[in-house]
Structures are given as C-alpha cells and as structure tokens.
Subunit: 227 residues, 2 copies
C-alpha cells in the first residue's frame, strides 16, 4: 500500500516533505543564498514549501526570529582554527575576524539584522569563546576582554552591514560621499578639507587590518576603572 499510493511522484513532485523547523530554515538559507535576504519572506517560503504562510507560524515565531535562526546556522562556517593553533594571539584574532567578516560581507543584509537581533545561538557563543581565549592568551585582563570582545564583533558586523542595500554596482553612494568631502569649503570644514582623500583612502582589507590592531591596542591598554 505504501508504494502503490504514490501515483506519479517518481520525480516530478518530490513528495511534499513534512514541515519541520529545520526544513524551513534550510529552505530559508537556500533562498537567501540564491536571491538575498529580502526575498526570504514568510509568503515566499510558504510557496517554496508548497503550503500557505499561516502554516509556518507553527514553527517560527515571526520574521525576525527566522532571520536570527538563519544567521546562527551560517555562523557555523566561521573558521575558528586559529584559536587553538597556539600562534601569535593578535594574528589569531585577525584571522578569526577576517573569516567572520568575509562570511558577512557576502550577506550584508544578514549582518544588518545581526546588529539589531543580537545572536545567542551555539555558533555565536563558540565564536565568542574563541576570541576570549585569544585575548586571554594575549594577557588582556578579564574585565577589559569582556567589554572589548563586544566592540570587536560589533565593528566587524557593522563593516559588513555597510554593504547592504547596494545593488549599486557602480558605487553611486560612495561617490556622493567622496564628492561631498571634495566639495567641502575650507572655511566651513577646515579639517575635512585638510584631510581630504585621506578620509576615504585604503582598501577595505587594509582598513580592517589597521582597525583590528587599533582595537587590540585600545583594549589592552585601557583599564576599566578611571584612575
């Protein structure tokens, strides 16, 4: 009876699978990879899963929660190998953050949502632990590490989020900033004018590396109590 009751479904209809939370999230990740987070909507997912939007609410509280789940799923791909390797701690942090950034730069809208919906899943906690291990290895006092790691991740996330909303292949928006800086009058904006192109210089990679070194220096040398 089992075999006989599947009429034409050899290949053409993949026998509509039962709805599960993980199935929904897996579909969400696939749609996001193919078309971006803005296409990951309840209605679109429902269509993809061959059901109505209302059905998804059995497994997912709302759209925000869904986006959070996607993020945690993807955070599993961050390369934490450098954390256990026993090399230079600064280079270790640089490597972990580079991996994190490269992941999110390809998915900027997810980075944007990560800034608002603080992740708290397993993969996020593993990332946090890896960074704290490296800070400890570098002799950073615990209280400074605890607050500093937050800024480290926040800056990395915000940098990635900046690339969201850029269909903008020609960098129209970047040009607007550049033009504004260059057209600045020396009277009203003396310092912006003086610095000029220096403000916009450097590749994203170069700036990220300097910023990481800068943050580590700050974290290492700034005690928590004002003394």
């Amino acid at each position: 009876m089992t075999a006989r009751s599947e009429p034409v479904s050899r290949r053409e209809r993949p026998a509509k699978p039962a709805l599960t939370r993980s199935g929904i999230i897996a579909t969400a990740v696939r749609v996001m990879r193919a078309e971006g987070l803005q296409r990951v909507t309840m209605r679109r997912l429902a269509k993809e899963l061959d059901t109505g939007p209302a059905s998804l609410y059995v497994y997912v509280a709302n759209t925000t929660e869904l986006h959070g789940a996607i993020l945690d799923e993807l955070l599993g791909e961050v390369d934490l190998a450098a954390a256990g390797a026993g090399g230079d701690w600064r280079e270790g942090i640089e490597a972990v953050l580079a991996s994190y950034t490269h992941l999110l730069v390809q998915l900027p809208s997810l980075a944007q949502s990560a800034l608002v919906a603080r992740p708290s899943g397993t993969n996020y906690l593993n990332l946090l632990d890896a960074l704290l291990a490296l800070l400890k290895q570098g002799g950073v006092p615990d209280d400074q590490a605890a607050w500093g790691v937050d800024t480290l991740l926040q800056v990395a996330t915000a940098s990635a989020a900046e690339h969201a909303g850029e269909d903008d292949t020609d960098g129209t928006e970047w040009k607007a900033v550049a033009a504004a800086v260059e057209n600045a009058s020396a009277d009203q904006l003396p310092h912006v004018t003086a610095l000029g192109s220096e403000l916009l210089s450097g590749s994203p990679e170069t700036r990220r590396k300097w910023t990481t070194r800068m943050l580590l220096n700050g974290i290492l040398h700034t005690p928590r109590d004002t003394s």
Copy 2:
C-alpha cells in the same frame, strides 16, 4: 479675487499646501517622531499630504533616499559646542559622541539606516569636522585620525542601532542572551563560562564611556604602517 476664492478654508482644511521636498521631509520627521521610522512610508506620507503616493516621486527618489534626508535633518541637533570650547580633547570627543548617541538612541531605526546609507549631508560633515578638530588638538597624527574617526562614529551608530526592533519593553531578547551565557557548559565554552556575567555587566552609559576611551587610546597609539 485672492481672498474671495478661499471658500470654507478658514480653519477646517489648512488649504492643502504645495508639495515641496522640504515639506515632505518635514512631514516625514513629524511622523517619525510620533510613530517611528517604520511608519514613514511613501503611502503614509502621501495620505498625510493629501495626495497619492506617485506624487512624492517627483521630489524623492525612493524610500532609502527619504530616510537619508531625515537623518541629515536630525543630525543638525547634535551639540558640537564642546569642539570649540578648548577644554580637554578627550572630554570634548566624549561630549560630542554622547550627544550624537543620545539623539540616535531615541531613534534606533534611523541609526540602523545610517549604518547602511552613509550620510553625506552638511550636518554629518560638520560632525566629522568637529571630531577631527578635537583629534588634531589631541595630537593624533592625521592619517590615524582620518581612519579612526570613522570607527568612532561607526561604533556610536551601531550601539544606537542595537536598540532598534525593540518593542520589547521587558527585554525578552536581552534575557535570551543572558540565559545562553549562563547556561553555557564549562566544557564547551570555558571562557564564556569563566567571564560569565562580566560579559553583560555595566550600564550602557558606563560601557560607552569605557569604549570611547578605549578607541581613543587605540587610535592614538596605532601607527598606520606596520613596522
């Protein structure tokens, strides 16, 4: 003829004003203050201005551009007085960033949009100039100031953006993070467990102040060329 041709419009209908860009933006700011940025939609604004949504597209390119214009308008309220006062440069930066943060914390969804749509209006450039003046006063080398000021503003903006999407008066989401940290197993997350509540300690104000000091130390002591 001028006076006579206004029939009943003494008070009841405020004589539908001509559509202008600044009128649209003013209305947008008002709606945002009253109901939040998520209510500032083309359709809602059109209704407010007693016209159809299509009419707005004569003055505003799209929703993103509109949000950018709102932000620049509001940035005029940031208090830059500390920049010219000639006091301690660190305290000056702290004061300017505090003013900027307090503005955006009340409008977190605007902060979120600021992260993606880099502002380039007059008020933003004035803010940039004020911070650069203070960094110069502190003897920060030009190239370090140029890259550092970006991180300074990015961190302030991201901190404010984190409060977006919180109808969340009871802090449900914050509790999720706290629970995750506390339930962390010592085996798998030794450093997160060890730091524990330290990770979540401190008021936003205290953390912001430490973070600002930390960034200034980093910017001041990190040369651009790796040597």
